[in-house]
Structure formats: C-alpha cells, structure tokens
Symmetry: C2
Subunit: 124 residues, 2 copies
DNA sequence: CAGAATCCTACCCGATACTG
DNA sequence: CAGTATCGGGTAGGATTCTG
C-alpha cells in the first residue's frame, strides 16, 4: 500500500486551493511559456511572451508558483541582475494534467451552452 | 476525422474561461452536491448541503452553471414555487474530469512546497 | 534588469432586508 | 420557497513611478 485512497478533509482542501490557484487568470499562461521555452527564461522574456500581463502581476504570479514548488527562481547576483525561471518536474507534470483537461473541454465546447456568457432573450 | 487537433485561439480562450469559472470558489462544491444527490435538488436543499455558501452567491453560481450547460433548472410554477436543479450529462462528465485532476493533486501533495501558503523565514 | 511601492478601479463575496 | 435588491469590506489586477 502506497497511498490512502480516501483523501482527508485537509488534503481535499489543500488540493482544492492548488487547483484554484493554478487555474486562476495567469499561472497557466506563465507555465505554458516556461514549458514551451524548454529552458530557463529571464523575467523580461516571460513578460514579453505572456500576452497582456503586467509586471506587478507577473511578479506575484511567479512568486506564488515558486512557493507552490511549480517553478524555480534562480538569481545571478550581477549588475544588472539576472533572474531565471524554469518549470520544476512537478510543475511540468501538473501542466500536462491541466492541459489534458483543457483539451477535453475544447473537444466538448459545442456542448457547452454559453462559454462566453450569454444575454438572455430580452430585446430592448 | 472527427475533431481538429490544434485548438484555435478562440477555442483555447473559451475553454480557458470555462476552466476558470468551474474551478472558482463554489461551482465544484455545488456540482458535487448535485452529483451525490443523484436526483433533482431544490434550491434550499442545495443551500443546506453546500457548507458556507450564502444564498446570493448560490443563486449566482447556479445561474452561471446553467448558462454553461452544466446543470438544468426546472421551475414548477406553484405557490410557493418549487425549483429543482440537476447535473446535465455534460456537467457530470466535466465533474469527473476535474475530480480526477483533483485526486492527482492530492496524490502529489507532499511534493508541493506550500499549498497552504507560507511565511518566509522572518522571525520577528 | 528585475523588481518594489503606490494609487486606483472593478469585482467578488458576505450580510441583511424585502417580495411574488 | 426561491429568489431580488442593496450596502459594504476585501482583494485581484492594471498603470505609473521609482530603485539597487
């Protein structure tokens, strides 16, 4: 026996929080960029490649991802400083899982009623 | 050939939005309750069973889930009114997918650094 | 270059009435 | 019973400015 099959309340809650954080507005885009780069990326490179994110929010997102163990942050103490970000193994694996779900949703998109949001049938 | 393997930008965005909405604070709990009931549930029953949700937010959540095609809302025009909610097939399938991801995260929880959030090593 | 600090806005959510 | 309406606090996120 390796793991317990019934999650405890606490495990459930923690996993829930991870899921909510990672599916928030920006983290997946950041992780995707890092995955596609397939190499460490500097802060400014990430900022360029994640369409529409602001510097502040990127910083926050990177910090959260680092805290969760999904990316690494490496500081090279030079002037000017160089900082590189890279997906961890866990981060890469999680991304694969989420992308799989993502693709499943894409495949069923026609079945979703109003993924973009709908106005109800009020004319005027 | 049944589906296109490369999602368009638009599909990607829509699926992203679905994923973000469904993993938001309450929808999964609501869907879980409906799934476990395995039968139509009245509004007040759902309100009772979803721990901690307010009536206003439950209404909003149900509306969003309905718009997305994940649940059905059936109104019986009586006095007092009776309204029943039930998972759609799509909703049930999506829930299965997400629960699977959820369980995967639970299994890897030890690898996550600080799922609950961490204070950095500042003593005072 | 890689951020920290600040200001500001928009939403989200919770609590509390009120109604068909 | 199943909502709607309203108010208020907290927070995520954007734009801008400053700094080691």
């Amino acid at each position: 026996m390796v793991t317990i099959q019934t999650p405890t309340e606490a495990e459930d809650r923690l996993a829930r929080e991870v899921l909510e954080r990672v599916t928030a507005k920006w983290p997946l885009s950041v992780m995707r960029v890092l995955a596609e780069a397939n190499a460490p990326l500097r802060f400014s490179r990430v900022l360029e490649r994640v369409q529409g994110i602001s510097q502040k929010v990127l910083t926050q997102t990177l910090r959260t991802l680092e805290r969760d163990g999904l990316i690494t942050r490496t500081l090279y103490p030079q002037v000017p400083p160089r900082v590189e970000y890279e997906l961890t193994t866990l981060g890469g694996e999680l991304l694969v899982q989420v992308l799989s779900l993502w693709r499943w949703i894409v495949g069923r998109l026609p079945d979703f009623a109003a993924p973009g949001g709908i106005e109800h049938g009020v004319v005027a």
